[in-house]
Amino acid sequence: MTLFFAVLIPFVGAALVALASRLGRSQSAWATGAVTLASLALLAPLLAVPFNGDTLVQQHDWLPALGLNLAFRLDGLAMLFAGLILGIGLLIVLYARYYLSKRDSMGRFYSYLMLFMGSMLGIVLSENLIQLLIFWELTSLSSFLLISYWQHREEARQGARMALAVTGMGGFALLGGFLLLGHIVGSYELSVVLASGDLIRAHPLYVPTLVLVLLGVFTKSAQFPFHFWLPHAMAAPTPVSAYLHSATMVKAGVFLLARLYPALSGTPEWFWLVSGTGLATLLLGAFVALFKHDLKGLLAYSTISHLGLITLLFGLSTPLAAVAGVFHIINHATFKASLFMAAGIIDHEAGTRDMRRLNGLWKFMPYTATLAMVAAAAMAGVPLMNGFLSKEMFFAEAMQISSSHVGGWLLPALVTLAGAFAVAYSIRFIHDVFFNGEPINLPKTPHEPPRWMKVPVEILVVLCLVVGIAPAFTVAPLLAVAASATLQAPLPEYHLALWHGFNPALAMSMTAMACGILMYLLRRPLYALHARMLERLDARVVYNLLLDALFASSSRITHLIDTGSLQRQVFLFLVAALVLGFSPWLDSESPLAGNRAGLPLDAVSLLAGAALIVAALTTVWLHRQRFLALITIGVVGLVVSLTFVKFSAPDLALTQLSVEIVTIILLLLALYFLPQHTARERVWRVWRDGAIALVAGSGAALLAWAVLTRPYDTIAGYFIDNSLPGGGGRNVVNVILVDFRGYDTLGEITVLALAALGIHALLENLRLDAPDRDAAGRAWNRDLYPLIMGTLTQLLLPLALLVAAFILLRGHNQPGGGFIAGLVTTVALIVQYLARGSAWMHERLSDAPQPVIAAGLALATLTGLASWAFDHPFLTSTFGHLNWPLVGDFELASAMAFDLGVFLVVVGSTLLILVKIGALHDSRINRKWVP
């Protein structure tokens, strides 16, 4: 479980940190640091595992039916990334404490940061691909929150949205890729996938799989042509950029490249797609970075370029190139994080990031300048820095590959060119900011930052130097285990050292250095050329065009179907349903009626049926006179409940009858606020709808006839056999509701409660005009609350409640139960409202039954949860028999508590609905009392 907890801690920590922020800003930072350290401490004892050459896999069942397990994996690569995430994360926590101003909410920032950290750890420690993808998407979401941290800034919101859109689409493609991988291999476990490289590469689905996975990788790691989101994500606070855009988020893409390297690499498709994209990104990023006047913009494009470099290395598909790729991941994380932090310090202390105004800062902050210089030298690949070592390896590999391909000389030439650009923009970062004359019109006078803000930069810069000078004694063991985990094979022969003698790679380095310096000296004509030719080229334009086109076409399609008329929509829906419903009958061979023996027709049934049909047709005939239609539809409902009585469904009959009463009262109350008559509609429309109704009615009748005349297999036997021994009740319908299908019932009462609360919300502050007189011009009623009715109903109330209690209690064994008892209770109470008015009732009964609903839902849920305490599944019921004196044998079932919950929800919901609509009336009639 250790790995699982290591991932879980930051997620739990996110909540703790938000709470701690109430104690103060520093407390929040301390809490975040403690959470990060806790996760680190959990992983620390496991460090020995990868160094011994082992892979730790921990699995826990999650959804075993779907083949989904919580599976975590710790090998060299995972350890390297976990170290980067937590280690640099710790530095970021410290840095952000001083970076964020008093106006920024500390709790929110650290909470988002923890969410992101947990998601990132989840990616690198996942053994299961689907689980990896879930964390992958979580990083997209939490980075959205982090980038848009300054919500009041438009560019922050836009940048966050763009990042989410691009990486989200990539995540979607990645899901497809993983599903294909799982299909090919037959498992989502990395251990299996990594060992099945030959199978995957030989599979006909290899190319689609590769393309989908690479789409995910390239969007996440800002590879061309998806690179454009990264510069816009620079609207984030600088600690976020330093964390997400140097060491973590964008590295998730190249992490996946490394992770799946044994499974997918080694084919021409991989070589051309990955190294081609990497090369294009490397060149484009390095080129654009030189011309960015924004300090963070320069770093963003430099990041894009370095990510391209790493991608290119993995694309080359030689073991040594992969080692160099892993090495550069480490080096880039250290120097780029420190450079972002330095840029943040400059922005923080000078008030701008515009390099055209930032000049000569050396005088004001020499210490920061020194740190930035070392880090920038590492970025340029100057000897003695870590960046030099991996760049040498990169150049050597490019040289190596060039000899085996036609036209291969192009690759070393192009990477040297990119190297020259890197040197040029690194010089610009230093020279333009710290020297180059005097600062121009800065908002504040720059000075050195607080002591502790520099510490994270110092640590990283020292690492750059130490690794650069003595690689064999520092980074070598870590690199060895991470690289061998990447390759899943023995390591190639390589030697980490500062000096390899005079070789082609050194010559390339020197050439790049010289060209870079020359380029920087020629910067003014280059800037002018760039401003004239290329400045308006922006991938964002394409993105926006695509986005606009997408929105336009989707709204065109929507308008094609939906003209904003519900009436037309319902018409189209019904026609479509009819066409779909009737079409299977056209080529059906079987006769309409089956051979099941029917019941004989008796006179009473015929009469009742005729009454129903007449009432239904009258309702339609009279529907424009709404009040009359309401009366006749009541007759229909009554006969429907009689139908349930006739055909052995006493529970349904009781329910239908009580619902009928409640419904009619509801519609009467509402009708008061609506026109009393319906306007005439056009004749053609009436005839058209009549025809559709006829077709629909015949279809339903024929279908019912076809079913009713056929025998069928039923699963009823199980319920009838187990109702008494298993559920302890004789009323099978009730036992199904509260026991066999109790979970469904829980859902249904929740829906009912939601409907009631929704109605409550809709009616809030609703003001409706209604006529003071009825349609004939008479006053509604002179005697609002007739005395006789009031007195009689008051006498009846206890009786009615007694009946309800009786129905509730016997429901398990006789027709009845929570639903029916609840409705009966509501009817009894509503009659009181009718007889006495809301104001009178308000003095005696709370008109806010929401607590009753809540109590009901809580009771039903707790009854379900209680079975967990006895190691049974949710909502397992139990029952026993008590022999009470006088009463005799009395059954007590846990399902009865559940039924009581149902009862409470039904009473609360129906009362809430009716009382709230009724209150609309009283606020008109009796203006003294407004609920």
Partner: protein, 113 residues
């Protein structure tokens, strides 16, 4: 008897469909009520018709299928919740839009017969 029930289901469906296609809110709510009668009866009839065989365990008795009954029982209560929600939506629409047409925009013209 089966034919009568089938006929009733058909009539209720037809009435429901016709009213659901009207332009103003109140008839549409009535139409939905009709449709829920029809659907509930139809679901109930899927357990076939039986007289004098309620699914309450007793010695030596015959039982009809209890499962459709359980389904329909909750369906009745839920359709009440739905009717209530829709009618309140209609009230809200009338208050906010000033008319009771389902499109929220206009009354259908008083066409000549």
């Amino acid at each position: 008897m089966e034919a009568l029930i089938a006929l009733i289901i058909g009539i209720l469906t037809a009435c429901g469909v016709f009213l659901a296609l009207r332009g103003q809110t109140f008839p549409v709510v009535l139409g939905l009520t009709f449709l829920s009668y029809a659907v509930n009866l139809f679901l109930f009839a899927m357990g076939r018709l039986a007289i004098g065989a309620p699914p309450v365990i007793a010695d030596g008795a015959a039982y009809t299928d209890p499962l459709p009954q359980a389904l329909v029982l909750t369906a009745i209560v839920i359709s009440f919740g739905m009717t209530a929600f829709v009618i309140v939506l209609a009230l809200k629409a009338r208050a906010e839009l000033g008319n009771d047409h389902v499109d929220g925009t206009h009354y259908d013209e008083e066409g000549p017969r």
